[in-house]
């Protein structure tokens, strides 16, 4: 038995040896294209840990952003090493260590669940910079080489809400809605497919809802969670359930095309329903139903970070920017949007840019029937907001989202929104 095994192993090793020799002359994979690295940037080697690959909208947006930023900062393509489909478990730590071994000077991970493994790697390798995108523990980690970054995605969710609000207004005025589209208080039903019930998602759907209300105030919203960032089937089913409740707009904070596809099918079968997507343009899967999508322009951050690495300056521990620096936007408007949407979108975007419009204006929402003038945000990661470190987020009449820390922190459940599960 043992002999057999040994011989088997030997043969296998030999075989692999032959293959590895045969491949020696070749370059490992795709050779980098032009890439004009000057003296400084050639020292910068970027490692990227991605939760998915090009086939998944959220990751595709990151890949696009990194490629663009690398080009802007003159970092040659061969100095960017990609790790695709890295699970949110210790394989993230292994991937980070492997990237350090390959000589990376900075490592970026794109999913929230990677964070604690990135932090572990940051503690083990103090000479390498680690950035956990969308994370929230860097400020409290006590590590100078560990960073978080996010965009002010709530700003573009608000604007995508404006687009949806215009559509609702048009549908109501044209008398296209049936009684099932109104709730018991005669408000138009809106649906939202969310991933997980925590601040990032809550902040997003609240911004979306407030955007709709800024155009058409008489709406109520139902939120269904899928408990997954990417689940085409579950997102489609959630959208179907919401539409059978009578929802006319289906927003989403989940990464697949499941919901828009379901809405497109429903629209074709005669239902009145439209979709607002996330991350990527949904027009190819829902040409009639998709109004627009809220998206991040990650290249703004990556370009900033790569630039800092190139110049040897420090990367901010927490970074969050929005419309003002072009880090967020909405995608091309679909053919079904209401007349005048363009102008209304421009108006909202300009107001956000100039600072005259605050998405979480405390006068625009109530919690438990009351307007708020105070809400503390958890700053030490224990997820209550009763510690001395936790900071007040409402001043000057609005909730200061992503200012105290990069990751969204708005976790209030405002009136008019119901979580179904």
């Amino acid at each position: 038995m043992k002999k057999r095994a040994t011989v088997f192993a030997l043969c296998l090793t030999l075989l692999l040896g032959v293959f590895s020799l045969a491949g020696c002359g070749e370059d490992g994979g795709k050779a980098g294209n032009e890439g004009s690295g000057d003296g400084g940037s050639s020292n910068v080697k970027i490692g990227v840990i991605l939760v998915g690959d090009k086939n998944e909208g959220y990751t595709a947006a990151h890949i696009e952003g990194i490629e663009k930023a690398a080009k802007e900062q003159g970092i040659p393509a061969e100095n960017v090493i990609w790790k695709y489909s890295v699970k949110e478990d210790e394989s993230c730590f292994d991937a980070a260590v492997d990237l350090v071994d390959q000589g990376c000077t900075a490592i970026f991970s794109n999913s929230y669940g990677h964070q604690s493994f990135m932090q572990q790697a940051a503690a083990d390798y103090p000479d390498v910079q680690f950035v956990a995108m969308t994370g929230d523990t860097a400020a409290n980690s006590g590590l100078s080489n560990f960073h978080n970054a996010f965009t002010n995605v709530y700003e573009c969710r608000y604007v995508s809400g404006v687009v949806a609000g215009m559509k609702v207004k048009e549908l109501v005025e044209a008398g296209k809605l049936s009684p099932e589209n109104y709730d018991e208080n005669n408000k138009v039903r809106i649906g939202y497919v969310g991933a997980y019930p925590y601040a990032e998602v809550v902040s997003g759907y609240t911004a979306f809802f407030l955007g709709i209300q800024s155009v058409y105030p008489d709406v109520s919203m139902e939120v269904t969670y899928t408990n997954s960032w990417f689940d085409i089937t579950a997102e489609g089913e959630a959208a179907n359930a919401l539409m059978s409740d009578g929802c006319v707009i289906i927003g989403q904070h989940a990464d697949s095309t499941g919901a828009p596809t379901a809405v497109q099918n429903a629209l074709k079968s005669g239902k009145v329903a439209y979709s607002v997507g996330y991350n990527v343009d949904m027009l190819n899967v829902a040409p009639d139903a998709a109004l627009t999508s809220a998206t991040n322009n990650w290249s703004v951050y990556y370009s900033y970070a790569f630039g800092a690495l190139k110049n040897g300056s420090a990367i901010a521990t927490d970074w969050a920017e929005g419309y003002a620096s072009g880090a967020v936007q909405i995608t091309t408007l679909g053919s079904s949007v209401a007349a005048g949407t363009d102008a209304k979108v421009k108006e909202a975007e300009d107001a956000i840019k100039s600072g005259s419009l605050h998405v979480f204006d405390a006068s625009k929402f109530t919690v438990g029937g009351k307007k708020l003038d105070s809400h503390k945000v958890d700053m030490n990661g224990d997820f209550d907001n009763e510690d001395p470190e936790d900071k007040e987020a409402i001043w000057d009449g609005y909730f200061h989202e992503s200012e105290l820390r990069a990751a969204p922190s708005f976790d209030l459940r405002i009136d008019g929104i119901t979580e179904l599960n």
Binding site: G28, K83, Y84, S85, E88, D89, D101, D136, F383
Partner: protein, 368 residues
């Protein structure tokens, strides 16, 4: 051959081989690996136009290209073979323990629980407590289906399989209970600051103790199955329960005892996965290894050394495949395809080791 006279002889008939000589068995397996690689090569080239040799070389580098990659491959190999070692006695007894996934998970849950609630204990005491708890939890998860089988002759395949889903739900429950930060649906790294309940770092790697533990287990399992009375009883029950009964073996007791052992070792591998590798708990703590280990155990015919080798092959494939995605721009699905094709050929060749095809107009061979 009287009865075949009037009927047309089929084009191909299959006859069982008595046993194949060692040399031919190796040749058949090697041929299957080469064939698999050829098929993969053709597919890779046809679909992507990338030189398949580059792909294979990248795979090898991905698994063994640096010290940390070797450790990562070894860790994967150890976790996989630990479960396979646990499964071996059950399968040898022809008790279809499909429940390793669940047994690993419950072992992982209690390990994580110990790390969270008992982190005041000194590490020297905490680790043994974690070992004990994970063994007990795994053993309990193995015991339940065994009890039902022994008492009421229920179907153990279904019972163990269903226990997996209970364990998966249980894991989700505890992930939600311990989630940090709240609502994120992940537990995060447990005891990140003081590393309580983690395996100590030896030879520059936290995985060193996994290696020691699994090698020890595999030697012990080899001895247990080959040279002890228990091992003999297991193979008799596996060969025929009636024979075992006739020989005065208490079949129910052997069944229960063996499943306790099987579950305990799977539980222990849950402990290793949490305390030795991930330091967190999620449904991916088992990550399908409980099912892959079934393939490992069967392909190795329950031989401990062979199980280690096959685990190494699978760990190599997995880690190598990740590197293809990284370097060659092939996505995850492409690498999984390569793994699938290789496994298909390796499992398929067992058929030709056990059976011989006989062609109608082929050379007249004696038919047994």
């Amino acid at each position: 051959m009287q009865e075949y006279k009037n009927s047309r002889e089929p084009l191909i008939r299959l006859t069982k081989r008595d046993s194949m000589p060692l040399g031919s068995r190796i040749v058949v397996r090697l041929v299957s690996v080469v064939l698999a690689m050829l098929v993969c090569a053709v597919l890779i080239y046809a679909i992507t136009g990338i030189n398949p040799l580059v792909v294979y070389r990248t795979m090898f580098e991905g698994a063994f290209g640096s010290k940390s990659r070797i450790w990562s491959t070894v860790k994967e190999m150890m976790l996989l073979s630990c479960i396979a070692i646990g499964l071996a006695p059950a399968f040898k007894m022809r008790f279809w323990n499909i429940g390793a996934e669940g047994q690993v998970l419950v072992g992982g849950i209690v390990t994580a629980g110990c790390m969270i609630y008992l982190n005041k204990l000194p590490s020297a005491l905490l680790l043994p407590v974690m070992v004990l708890c994970s063994i007990l939890a795994g053993a309990l998860w193995g015991l339940l289906p065994a009890l039902f089988k022994a008492k009421w002759n229920t179907n153990e395949t279904l019972a163990t399989l269903m226990m997996n889903y209970v364990a998966i739900q249980l894991t989700s429950f505890f992930v939600a209970k311990w989630e940090n930060p709240y609502g994120s649906n992940t537990v995060g790294i447990i005891n990140q600051s003081d590393q309580k309940g983690w395996f100590p770092q030896v030879m520059g790697s936290r995985y060193f103790f996994c290696v020691v533990l699994v090698l020890l287990l595999s030697v012990m399992m080899h001895i247990y199955l080959k040279y002890t009375k228990h091992g003999f009883e297991i193979s008799v029950v596996g060969a025929s329960e009636n024979t075992a009964r006739y020989a005065g073996i208490n079949v129910s007791w052997v069944m229960i005892r063996t499943m306790l052992l099987s579950g305990a070792i799977c539980g222990l591998s849950g402990f290793m996965a949490v305390a030795g590798a991930s330091h967190t708990i999620s449904v991916s703590t088992a990550g399908g290894r409980g099912f892959t280990a079934i393939i490992v155990a069967w392909m190795a015919k329950f031989d401990a050394a062979t199980m280690l080798l096959i685990s190494l092959l699978l760990a190599f494939l997995q880690n190598g495949a990740g590197e293809i995605a990284s370097k060659c721009g092939l996505n995850d699905y492409a690498s999984q395809m390569i793994i699938g094709i290789l496994l298909f050929f390796l499992l398929g060749c067992e058929f030709f080791i056990n059976y011989r095809p006989v062609f109608r107009h082929g050379k007249k061979k004696e038919v047994r």
